[in-house]
C-alpha cells in the first residue's frame, strides 16, 4: 500500500511542476523569439548601413544562408551571409556582410550566438576583435600567428575561437559558387549602368582614385 502513496506523491509533485513550467514557457516564449529576431534585424542593419530590404538567395551546394541586401533605391549593396560553425565551447553563429566588388571586401561582421567561455572566448563579440575584419579581403583573413599575410590578432587566451571564425569567414569568401554569383551580379550591374555611366566617366575617375589612395 505504501508504494502507491509514494508513487502518488511524486506524480502529483511532478504534475504541478510540469504545469507551472508550461505556464512560464508559454509566457516567456514569445518574448524570447521577439528578442532574437529583433536582435538579428538590428545586427543586419548595423552590418550594412543603407540596407532596408533583405532577400534570401538559394544556392544548391552552400550550407549557409545568404541574403541579398538592397538599399532604398533598389540597388544591391551587399551580400549578407549567416553561418554556423564549431567554436571552442559549441556552436557559434555569425553574420557577415560582403561587398560585390571584383575582390569582395568585408563590410562588417557580428556574432549572433555563441557558447564560448565567459571572459575569454566570449570576447569575440567585442568590437576590439571584430573591427579587425572590416574592409579585409579573403587573402588577409589569417591569424597573424598562422600566416605572414594575416592581419587578424587573435584574442588572448582564445586562439581556437579566433581561428575558427577567421578561417570560416575566409572559406565563405573564397567559396566558388558565391564568387560566381557575385560575378554574375556585377555583370548585370555593369550592363545596366554602362549606358548611364558613359556620360559620367570623367567625373567618376577622380573620386575613385582618391578613395584608392586612402585605402592603400
Amino acid at each position: 500500500m505504501k508504494i502507491f502513496k509514494l508513487v502518488l506523491t511524486l506524480s502529483v509533485v511532478c504534475l504541478i511542476s510540469g504545469l507551472s513550467l508550461s505556464y512560464f514557457y508559454t509566457r516567456t516564449k514569445p518574448v524570447i523569439i521577439r528578442n532574437n529576431s529583433d536582435r538579428e534585424i538590428k545586427l543586419k542593419q548595423e552590418i550594412i548601413k543603407d540596407a532596408i530590404e533583405f532577400k534570401k538567395i538559394d544556392f544548391v551546394s552552400l550550407n549557409y544562408y545568404v541574403e541579398e541586401s538592397k538599399n532604398a533605391s533598389g540597388d544591391v549593396v551587399g551580400l549578407l551571409i549567416k553561418n554556423r560553425i564549431k567554436g571552442y565551447g559549441g556552436d557559434l553563429e555569425y553574420l557577415v556582410g560582403i561587398t560585390l566588388d571584383q575582390e569582395p571586401k568585408i563590410i562588417n561582421i557580428k556574432i549572433l550566438s555563441h557558447r564560448e567561455t565567459p571572459g575569454l572566448g566570449a570576447k569575440v563579440t567585442t568590437s576590439d576583435f571584430l573591427s579587425q575584419f572590416v574592409s579585409r579581403i579573403a587573402t588577409e583573413l589569417y591569424l597573424k600567428k598562422d600566416s605572414k599575410e594575416g592581419k587578424i590578432d587573435s584574442i588572448t587566451g582564445a586562439t581556437i575561437t579566433s581561428r575558427a571564425i577567421t578561417n570560416s569567414v575566409r572559406e565563405v569568401m573564397q567559396n566558388k559558387e558565391l564568387y560566381d554569383y557575385i560575378k554574375s551580379v556585377q555583370k548585370k550591374f555593369e550592363s545596366a549602368v554602362s549606358v548611364v555611366e558613359e556620360k559620367k566617366v570623367i567625373k567618376k575617375v577622380v573620386p575613385e582614385n582618391t578613395s584608392d589612395n586612402i585605402s592603400q
Binding site: 511524486l10 513550467l21 512560464f24 509566457r27 516567456t28 524570447i32 528578442n35 571572459g119 588572448t156
Partner: protein, 228 residues
C-alpha cells in the same frame, strides 16, 4: 517575538559565518566558472539565491507531506522547476546576462548548496526560518563569488564591473581557469586566518569561575552552568 527576531538574525548570519563557499567549500563549480567578470558573478549569485530561497520555502511548506523515502527526488524536481523558471525569465528579459552565463544557469539544479539546504535545513524547520536561511546562504554565496570575480577581473582583465582598464598589463592567467583556483585558495586561506585570529583573541572565561552560579553577578545573562 524577540526570540523569533534573534533566531532569524542568527540564521541569517550563519550564512555568512558558515559561508557555503569559503568555509563549507560546497557549490564551487559556478564559483570557479562564472567568476571571470563581476557582472556575471553577481547575476549568477542572484539567480542561485532566488532558486535557493524559493526551493527552501516550498520544501519547508510541504515538508509534512513529503515521505522521507522519496524526499531527494522531490527536492530535485522542485529545484529543477525553479531553475528552469529562472532560465526562461532570464532569456526573455535579461538576454545579455543569460548569454554570458550560458550553460551555468541550468546547472544551478546540481548546485549542492541548494540541495544541502533543502535537506538539512528546510526539511526540518518552519517556512519563515527556511526563508531567512535561504536568504543568508544565498547572500553568503553571492558575496563569495563576487569577491573571487572582483579579484580575478581586476588582476586578469584590469577592470572592475564595466569600468575602463585600470592596469595596463593584466596577468592573463587570473581569468583563465587556473586563476579561479588560485584566487579561491587564497580567499579560503584568508578566511581561515581571520577565524583563527578571532578564536585566539576571545577572552578565556573558564579560568576564574566563581564557586557557584547563585553568587555570581552575571548570572542573569550567563550561558555557562556550573554543576556542583
Amino acid at each position: 517575538m524577540k526570540n523569533i527576531i534573534n533566531k532569524s538574525i542568527e540564521t541569517f548570519l550563519a550564512g555568512l559565518k558558515e559561508n557555503p563557499v569559503l568555509v563549507m567549500l560546497i557549490g564551487l563549480c559556478p564559483v570557479l566558472a562564472c567568476s571571470t567578470t563581476a557582472n556575471d558573478a553577481l547575476g549568477m549569485g542572484i539567480a542561485a539565491t532566488f532558486v535557493l530561497v524559493c526551493s527552501n520555502i516550498l520544501v519547508s511548506a510541504i515538508r509534512k507531506i513529503i515521505p522521507s523515502e522519496i524526499r531527494i527526488p522531490i527536492f530535485i524536481v522542485i529545484i529543477a522547476t525553479f531553475t528552469t523558471i529562472v532560465d526562461y525569465t532570464m532569456k526573455a528579459y535579461l538576454p545579455k546576462l543569460s548569454e554570458s552565463l550560458g550553460v551555468f544557469v541550468p546547472l544551478i539544479v546540481v548546485n549542492c548548496i541548494i540541495l544541502a539546504r533543502a535537506e538539512s535545513f528546510a526539511y526540518r524547520n518552519n517556512i519563515f526560518l527556511s526563508f531567512i536561511d535561504g536568504l543568508g546562504m544565498g547572500f553568503g554565496f553571492t558575496i563569495a563569488i563576487v569577491c573571487v570575480a572582483l579579484v580575478r577581473q581586476f588582476l586578469g582583465a584590469g577592470n572592475i564591473f564595466n569600468s575602463a582598464k585600470l592596469i595596463s598589463n593584466p596577468i592573463l592567467i587570473m581569468i583563465l581557469p587556473p586563476g579561479a583556483f588560485l584566487v579561491l585558495g587564497c580567499l579560503v586561506a584568508l578566511v581561515k586566518y581571520i577565524e583563527n585570529k578571532v578564536k585566539q583573541n576571545q577572552p578565556k572565561v573558564i579560568s576564574n569561575l566563581p564557586s557557584s552560579c547563585e553568587s555570581c553577578a552575571k548570572k542573569s545573562f550567563c550561558v555557562i552552568k556550573i554543576e556542583n
